[in-house]
């Protein structure tokens, strides 16, 4: 007997899907902003060899880039309470996303900073700017513009990766999918819909990021 598709069994749960989508976006948004701030701090520490932060960030980057996100999340949520650090599932999920994106964006932004022509910095020094002024006004904006496409990709990867936060019962989109298919037993329809939703989210987030880059960083960040 052929399988009879029934997507209405999924649409019944549209509120759960929308709530999950909202939380996935929230996790991505907070993670992206805080992760990029952390990544910028890491990038300048490493590119300009600001001791001792350059070493600390080097270890941190290697640690995060060579371990699975799921294990990082479990470590924060299940491991840290043993040291007395208690977090709810959202705090743990946000922290894990920020730490993860922070590590990858450290390396991406560092590439942009290191591509700054030496002469630009000398010109800024000759204008009596401080190191901090040079970084924020002269080095960072073109550096971010150069690597913005890579940053956009990384943020989308992180957004898709937030689906594993369902494993600590953070009720984001994948958690909603698991919940729905356990109720309606319509695994195909449920995951089909959720796959399509992730796809649209990824395309949408990429667009928003590209536009944000053009607004904030000018014409070069395409």
């Amino acid at each position: 007997m052929a399988y009879a598709f029934d997507f209405s069994a999924v649409l019944e749960y549209r509120e759960a899907l929308l709530a999950g989508t909202g939380r996935t976006l929230m996790l991505t948004g907070i993670g992206a902003v805080a992760g990029l701030v952390l990544g910028t701090a890491g990038a300048v520490s490493r590119a300009w060899r600001l001791a001792p932060f350059d070493r600390i960030f080097a270890v941190y980057v290697e640690l995060i880039r060579n371990t699975p996100f799921l294990v990082q999340l479990f470590f924060i949520f299940f491991g840290l309470p043993s040291l007395g650090v208690q977090m709810d599932e959202w705090q743990a999920a946000i922290l894990a996303v920020v730490i993860n994106l922070g590590a990858y964006s450290t390396e991406i932004i560092r590439a942009g900073i290191e591509a700054t022509p030496r002469g630009q910095i000398e010109a800024a020094q000759s204008l009596a700017m401080t190191r901090r002024q040079i970084f924020f006004h002269v080095v960072l904006p073109p550096a971010l513009a150069k690597v913005w496409p890579a940053i956009c990709s990384q943020v989308v990867i992180v957004m898709l990766g937030t689906s594993v936060c369902s494993q600590i019962a953070a009720e984001e989109l994948t958690f909603a999918a698991n919940f729905i298919q356990s109720r309606n037993f319509r695994a195909f329809e449920t995951y089909f819909v959720v796959t399509a939703m992730y796809f649209l989210l990824a395309v949408g987030v990429r667009q928003v990021l590209a536009l944000t880059g053009q607004r904030l960083l000018g014409r070069r960040s395409k």
């Binding site: 022509p117 630009q120 204008l127 009596a128 006004h137």
Partner: protein, 242 residues
């Protein structure tokens, strides 16, 4: 009292002794042309005057600001010494006007309106008032260099250092930049120029300084030196250029 006083200046790059005891006094309003073969130390000497290069021994004083071999607050010095580079070094993410305004706003702490007015008048001075909103990559090399001059002038320096500022330009763009520099000289700006433009050095320069193997080998009035070099090295150098 000299505006710039350089005494017994020594610098090494590793085992390479690039500046071997430079003494040079520059008076306010003078135009100094530093010439010499590549590797003679002329650019290095220029770059020590605003602290872009450190040095090992000796002293530099610019308008009362001392630079010592170690640990000086270079910002006070750099408020008085502007610099223009071979590669222009405009900030690519800022328009011409914003390039000129940036340091006046954040270093000299001028208000937005005052900084904008100053930037406009500086761009007018270099003949680019209509390019206020153009980005560097929309400008020719000569225009970029003139914006760089406007940017340095906006800080109202006492001395302007020019490091081969026409060497990266197409030949037909050289004159528009030199014309701007000539006007500055006529207005009494103190200029120290590393240059390969010998005709310009001769016409506009008050003093020619010929560097050879890390020393000032010969210096004096440009007209006289070009007509009558005292050393075979300068004679050879002039011969090789013409």
């Amino acid at each position: 009292m000299a505006l710039v006083r350089i005494e017994a200046l020594h610098k090494h790059f590793g085992s390479n002794h690039v500046l071997r005891g430079i003494d040079l006094d520059i008076e306010e309003g003078q135009v100094i042309a530093l010439i010499g073969r590549s590797g003679s130390g002329k650019s290095t000497l220029l770059r020590t005057i605003n602290g872009l290069e450190s040095f090992d021994d000796g002293s530099i004083e610019v308008d009362g600001e001392h630079i010592r071999p170690q640990g000086t607050d270079l910002r006070a010095l750099r408020m008085k010494v502007g610099m223009i580079f071979q590669q222009f070094n405009l900030f690519p993410h800022l328009t011409a006007g914003q390039n000129v305004m940036l340091a006046t706003r954040i270093v000299r702490k001028m208000g937005d309106d005052a900084a904008r007015d100053l930037a406009k008048s500086m761009l007018l001075k270099v003949g680019l008032q209509e390019k206020f909103d153009a980005y560097p990559d929309q400008l020719s090399g000569g225009q970029q260099q003139r914006v760089a001059i406007a940017r340095a002038l906006a800080m109202q320096p006492r001395v302007l250092l020019c490091d081969e500022i026409t060497s990266a330009l197409d030949p037909e763009l050289v004159n528009e930049v030199l014309a701007v520099v000539k006007n500055l000289a006529a207005e009494g700006m103190t200029l120290i120029m590393v240059t390969h433009e010998m005709r310009f050095a001769r016409e506009v320069g008050d003093k020619l300084v010929f560097m050879y193997q890390g020393r000032i080998h010969e210096s004096g009035d440009p007209q006289t030196l070009f007509a009558n070099p005292q050393t075979p090295e300068l004679a050879g150098f002039i011969g090789s250029i013409n």
